[in-house]
Symmetry: C2
């Protein structure tokens, strides 16, 4: 392991110009770890953004293969972070070692997926319309389009995935792949982890000859605002709370030059229990659902926070089973004291609401989060009670009974935007309830059948996004290879000499791309 110096990462060097320092706490004991983190000064924030801007010109013009080598090298460095590193992450987050080991593999795998995207080259979006000098009434000029990075990206990582959604997480990987340098705001919940991962990225950047400033990281409270407002920053990736995401979006919109923000924020991930499935395997579903709700202390963006079923004896039996299952779930140490405070407050709000019944869960007290099960009257959903729409981040869920199909429809229409929706159904259920799908498509980014939304595969087809407030822009995903699209913009060349064109657009097609040539896809060279 490298020494944790707690200094900011700026333009390939470390910097500690300020006097304010911060501590990182052991998430289980609250005791400070033996490191000091140096809050970036306004001048350091400025230098970090400028370093990214300077690196952009060179970095974005590197061939896709060269950027792929960088991503592969990061992946190798992350894989080599050993048991001492895992132990450090566990101390900062109270997550178990097995989970961190798995997340390490997910994080390096994510880098390698984007390296594959770079080598495949379709992200370049090459399109060519050849000149038609004899066209009447007017000739057509030669036009060629591909996509380049938008510029330096500011990334704000999540507390709940200290590796996969943090320093070298999906937003950073997507930005690098797009040719965009990154300024990362280290999460206060795992600064030592961030420091170590930052060192791994820098080692990879040096080994593969990337421009200094391709990766920068700043520590501290209040450094996010000047970062977002810095004119060099051209886009923002964020994973966190609705409040935080909204605040960043507002700052970005109020800049002299507004910039896009991709904030993944709040989702209660409804699970819809269909009748035949309840009859066939209600007990099993209750066990699986309790496990999904409490997995990782319920600290997932895709945690199922709302369960909806049609009133019937099988649903009553299911609720009994789920109540029993939830009562038996062990308490969890959350990621940090702030998380526990928010969870306790969220549970108190639910307990205090007269439309909500407490079904299971020990009284919330002490240093751990007690799993909780509530039942809410459907009228709360129909009347858009905000309490029911807001994510309680932790091991809690709410069940709702609806009277009939019409009420089910109304309840789903009353939902705000979500990352996921899940249907638990037998084949007959799915056929009968096919009418649900168009409704869900308009509400969510991912529709699951007979699975649980926790567990987000990193692949080409994944969508980890959805209508507001799940994210600030439903047109993006923050997991999977499509995430690169958020950081690309098209540029067109008109009548440009072939030899001077970017390789992606040259006649001989040196990158071997599939290109849209005169309206047809082709991987051939142009004669």
């Amino acid at each position: 392991m490298s020494t944790v110096t707690g200094q900011n990462f700026i333009g390939g060097s470390r910097s500690a110009a300020g006097t304010v320092t911060l501590e990182s706490l052991d998430a289980s004991t609250g005791v400070a770890l033996p490191f000091r983190f140096h809050q970036a000064t306004p001048e350091e924030v400025d230098r970090a953004a400028n370093a990214a801007d300077q690196a952009f010109v060179e970095f974005r013009q590197l061939s896709p293969e060269r950027r792929a080598e960088f991503l592969d090298a990061i992946a190798d460095e992350i894989d080599q972070l050993g048991d001492d590193f895992v132990a450090l992450v566990c101390r900062e987050t109270a997550l178990p070692a097995g989970r961190i080991q798995g997340e390490r593999g997910r994080t390096s795998g994510q880098m390698r997926l984007f390296a594959k995207v770079l080598r495949r080259g379709d992200f370049l979006g090459a399109r060519i319309d050849l000149a038609m000098p004899d066209r009447k009434p007017l000739p057509r000029v030669d036009l060629r389009q591909y996509r380049i990075g938008v510029g330096p990206v500011a990334v704000f990582g999540a507390s709940n995935f200290p590796l996969a959604f943090s320093t070298a997480g999906g937003d950073t990987a997507a930005a690098f792949a797009a040719g965009c340098p990154v300024v990362f705001k280290a999460h206060s919940g795992h600064m030592a982890t961030a420091d170590q991962v930052g060192c791994a990225i820098i080692r990879a950047a040096e080994k593969t000859g990337m421009p200094k400033g391709v990766f920068n990281m700043i520590f501290g409270a209040g450094v996010g605002e000047p970062l977002i407002k810095h004119p060099a920053i051209q886009a923002v990736g964020f994973t966190g709370s609705l409040h935080g995401g909204n605040a960043l979006s507002k700052m970005a919109a109020e800049r002299e030059q507004p910039i896009p923000v991709f904030a993944e924020m709040s989702s209660i991930n409804p699970v819809i229990l269909l009748p035949q499935a309840l009859a066939a395997r209600g007990d099993k579903v209750a066990g699986e659902l309790a496990a999904s709700v409490t997995m990782g202390g319920g600290q997932f963006c895709t945690n199922p926070g709302l369960v909806i079923g049609l009133r019937c004896p099988e649903l009553s039996a299911f609720i009994e089973h789920l109540t029993q299952q939830m009562t038996e779930q062990a308490p969890h140490t959350l990621l940090n004291a702030g998380g526990l405070r928010n969870y306790t407050k969220g549970v108190e709000h639910l307990l205090g609401h007269k439309g909500i019944t407490h079904l299971a869960g020990h009284t919330q007290s002490g240093a751990q989060a007690q799993p909780q099960l509530f039942k809410a009257d459907v009228s709360l959903l129909l009347n858009k009670d905000p309490l029911l729409q807001e994510e309680v981040f932790g091991p809690a869920t709410i069940i709702i009974e609806v009277e009939n199909d019409a009420q089910l429809k109304d309840a789903l229409l009353a939902l705000r935007g979500q990352l996921t929706a899940t249907l638990i159904g037998e084949p007959g259920d799915l056929e009968h309830y096919q009418w649900l799908v168009p409704i869900l498509e308009q509400k969510v980014g991912r529709i699951l059948v007979n699975g649980y939304p926790t567990g987000v595969e990193v692949c080409d087809a994944m969508v980890h996004g959805g209508p507001y407030p799940a994210t600030s822009d439903a047109r993006g995903t923050s997991v999977g290879s499509l995430a690169i699209d958020r950081f690309l913009r098209p540029v067109c060349y008109q009548n440009y000499p072939d030899a001077l064109l970017p390789a992606a657009l040259q006649n001989r097609n040196p990158l071997g791309l599939q290109r849209l040539v005169n309206g047809e896809w082709s991987s051939k060279a142009i004669a």
Copy 2:
């Protein structure tokens, strides 16, 4: 021609619930045309947005072929708008008949291009990652992604293209292609034209059995704000002024649910004259440039408003030629009185600035715009004087001499975002000045060589967009088939029964799409 009733288009019917009416003026004489347009009431705006929302569910689920039939039918209806229609457009805009005939063909051609995109199907972005039940340590689920429309789109057309950037223009075509119903805010400068084109769209919608509410149009001042703020509206397309685009972007960002705005706003479209070209054909370039600056009264988003050359005797000779050419250009009747007022004011500001010299152009007076040529000191650009960065909409341009290559670089770096940049150069120039291109790529959406930016081909490879303030989001284009991307968002299906999946994602690939299957592009069925 249909009767111009001046009523709002709402959910397949016409509506005139309010008492406020508006007139459309003959652009050449200022005389009112014999029509009355009914300003939409707040309740009518609400009904129009709700009609679009209701149509969305059915419309977005139509097959691409069905939507293509709709677009083709609109194209046919537009082609059939005859000489009486052309005469009406000419009266409202003072544009010549030949231009309107050409624009009619461009507008129907645009619809047909999107029909082709629909039939090609690549806009669906189909991606499939098949299940890997035996993968270790965890099995992979089946994941399939494609793209659907974001929802109803509000479109604000431009004054300067009463057909191609208006009622049935590029934004409307792209939204329809994406499966998004449209609420169009009729431009006050050509309401009778809008009425006729609206009727053509409705005829096409009826002939092809589209849901009522697929197209809606509202007339009036102040109806844009409630439209943008309506919860049913999910995205905005706009072409117009920086001031107007910024105002819409602000409203959209301040909604409870923020929505994306694609505003095409302000660009001065620099033309860079390289030395060998000036030596070889400076006279010819001067003639071509004067024609481009004054074409259509200079009322193009891509009008070349800034000309930059390196100080040399050839540049001095060029300036003399251009001065002479611009002096000889005829005055133009602009699109409307407001446009003439703005042009007059813009010219006055330039005349009043001590760093700017007036080279050519008759005193601005009367009902027409006089073509004008100015020369500005390079320091204005280097010091980011706002006067030099702002578009003067009309037949005027500004020339700047730079001392040397270093100052050329600084001048370009000082530019704000633009739709286009143009290089006029001989082969040797282009090779020597290759270092300009990375700078221009970061500033503009389209780089032209030895052409003029006026004239925007509607094709797959076109980019009519660029960094702020050229547009509000450089990741989009408002001309060309990529424009559809702005109105699409991805949705993912996990472990969904094949028979119930959207056709684009079914194993047998019934649409014959190129799909990304397990990381490889393939048009095959899945076994």
